[in-house]
Amino acid sequence: MDSKIKLPQIIITAFMAGLFVLAALLGMDIPELISGSFTKFVMNGVLVLAMIPMINAGVGMNFGLPVGIVAGLLGMCMAIQLRMTGIAGFLGAVALSVVPAVILGLIYAKILNMVKGKEDIAAIFIGYSFIPIMNFVWTVAPFTNREMLYPVGAEGLRPKISLENYFGSVLNELFVLKLGKISVPLGLLLAYAAVCLLVYGFFKTKSGSVMLAVGENEKFCQLSGIRIDRVRTTAIVLSTVIGAAGICVYAQTYGFVELYNAPLSHSFPAVSAILIGGCIGRQAKISHAVLGTYLYQTIYLLSAPIANAILIPQMSEIVRMIITNGIILYAFLKQERRRRQ
């Protein structure tokens, strides 16, 4: 498969460049926007990496990303309950979320293996129906840290838990490099690079290459004695674990843990980001995720102040969602055309 940059990427890149020019014309602080683009990029980057194992094993897009996100939220809630702080607190949260991620991932995999060929639609509704179950859990779970609970009146955890006293921005503030006016969050970028390397490394191992082979040609693998469902399960669990770690990174940058319906809003943007990066849905590379996340998030970052400047603040969100869904639709059509050839 050639990794040459194709027309959609050129259009999106040109659009991003256009937005930069427009921002400059409107007199905005370009160095600050560039600095912001790095944090936004990593903030969402790990969530996008959660697409890769599933795509490569031929399971399709991880529309059930909320499952992984919920595992990460559980991990973070436990970390806050135990009052873990700083970098150790962040790593503790990631570690604590691995167990729920593996358990939920196994269940998720079990269901997806029943609906081979139509995983996308099933995954969407697994996500949708899982969220109310978790809302129930957030309401009745026996957490006791006052900072996590509703201040007065209502029961349960609050929808937005501040990480200020725990591990908010710990990665963002690690080794910040000043290049003129641009500040580069090296710690954050290094953490992202480490996750990318781990995923890259996994696909160089034996089980990684088996996974790629299953994605490539399931029938052939079955005939050569590979247990397909097992490989798919590994991929789905892996995606779920990465998703859990992804929301931890997201939350520490954002400064808040968002519970209840918030996990639902991450899956479509993540799918769309990897598609923008040039993945057509058969094989996903790290480069697709990296390029796609940067383009997608930077466009979103730039469009917000521009929309404010032209007095229609909601417009950036609307345009972002049109791009998100438009790209996914485009990818569906393109995959179909490829399949027919």
Binding site: K118, I124, I131, V140, N325
Partner: protein, 348 residues
């Protein structure tokens, strides 16, 4: 015509009935109040549920793109109000514009879905989302910039963008004046009620005409239908056109009955709740009928009315009941998908 009812068709409705009875006793409300609430919601919603039947019978699964039909009606209301047309003439124009536009858009969606055979459901979800945001773009940013505003009452004080809430009382009155049907406190226009009955008969009857036979044939096996000379692409487009038009009509009835329009939120998730209703009535993603729509509409709305009340009464927390009902709505779709797709795979 009497067929034996299959066992698996009964599982879901019976589960709903059991839960509803349980919630009814937990909620402690009067039966009259329940009947009134359910009837009102049922009448507002049923045509949208009927709109899902044709695509299922044509083998295209749940058509989540029906939400586009509902946005078209909302857009027609705003556009007609923008030209300061009110009363009966306005309402007739809204109906005409929305049905024609829905037919046109349905044609486009149908062609699109023909290009993604085998993945119609997920595509219809994405298309629905896309249409929602385009709709928002038109009314948030287009109104007052690209589109000229004739009716200043519609837009925000900045002059750009439609307000969150638009009053449709002028249209509601027309229908209410033609005679109303009372259920407890609620009033339902006779004309709207007649529309619902006509739609029910229309769907029921159409499935028994030659066109209906063709739709069934395409749903059973596209390959075989193509062999006996049915233009499957055309049938599938017709199915989606009918579905979108019915959805538009359904939203017309709904908004007429409410008398106001939440411009940016009214249509959200309606398609998923309609799907849940149909499935609650014992339909599958392969087979559905008017009967399923009517039974499911009653069952789903009963549970929807009762569960928050039951939650508040039994656990002193209404949100627990609300979580339960969203779980039911989404869970039933997930359940139907998994069960059906699994059966299909076993059959292969």
């Amino acid at each position: 015509m009497m067929k034996k009812v299959r066992k698996d068709e009964l599982i879901v409705p019976v589960t709903f009935i059991v839960f509803s009875i349980l919630c009814f006793f937990l909620s402690g409300i009067s039966f009259m109040f329940l009947a009134e609430q359910v009837a009102l919601r049922f009448i507002r919603n049923i045509i949208l549920v009927l709109a899902l039947i044709f695509p299922i019978m044509a083998g295209m699964g749940l058509n989540f793109a029906v939400v586009i039909g509902t946005t078209i009606t909302q857009a027609s209301f705003i556009i007609v109000l923008n030209f300061n047309l009110t009363g009966g003439r306005g309402a007739a124009l809204v109906l005409a514009v929305s049905l024609v536009a829905a037919a046109g858009v349905g044609c486009v969606i149908g062609r699109l879905l023909n290009k993604v055979r085998g993945r119609e459901m997920v595509t219809s979800i994405v298309v629905g989302f896309l249409a929602n945001y385009i709709y928002q773009l038109i009314f948030v940013a287009g109104f007052g910039t690209v589109i000229h505003v004739f009716n200043k009452k519609l837009v925000l004080s900045t002059g750009i963008g439609v307000k969150n809430m638009v009053d449709l009382k002028t249209f509601k009155e027309v229908f209410d004046n033609l005679g109303v049907f009372r259920i407890g406190e609620a009033k339902i226009s006779m004309l709207l009620l007649a529309m619902i009955i006509v739609c029910g008969f229309f769907v029921f009857y159409l499935m028994r005409t030659p066109l209906g036979q063709k739709i069934r044939a395409v749903g059973m096996s596209e390959e075989k239908s193509a062999n006996i000379g049915i233009d499957t692409d055309r049938i599938r487009v017709i199915v989606i056109v009918l579905s979108t038009v019915l959805a538009a009509l359904g939203q017309f009835v709904y908004l007429q009955n409410i008398g106001s329009l939440n411009v940016y939120t009214e249509h959200l998730d309606t398609e998923k709740f309609a799907c849940a209703a149909l499935l609650a009535g014992g339909a599958s993603i392969r087979k559905a009928g008017v009967k399923n729509a009517f039974i499911g509409g009653v069952l789903l709305h009963t549970l929807f009315v009762l569960s928050p009340l039951a939650g508040r009464n039994a656990f002193a927390n209404a949100s627990l009941g609300e979580y339960f009902r969203s779980f039911v709505a989404y869970g039933i779709i997930a359940f139907a998908l998994v069960v059906n797709l699994r059966l299909e795979r076993k059959g292969e």
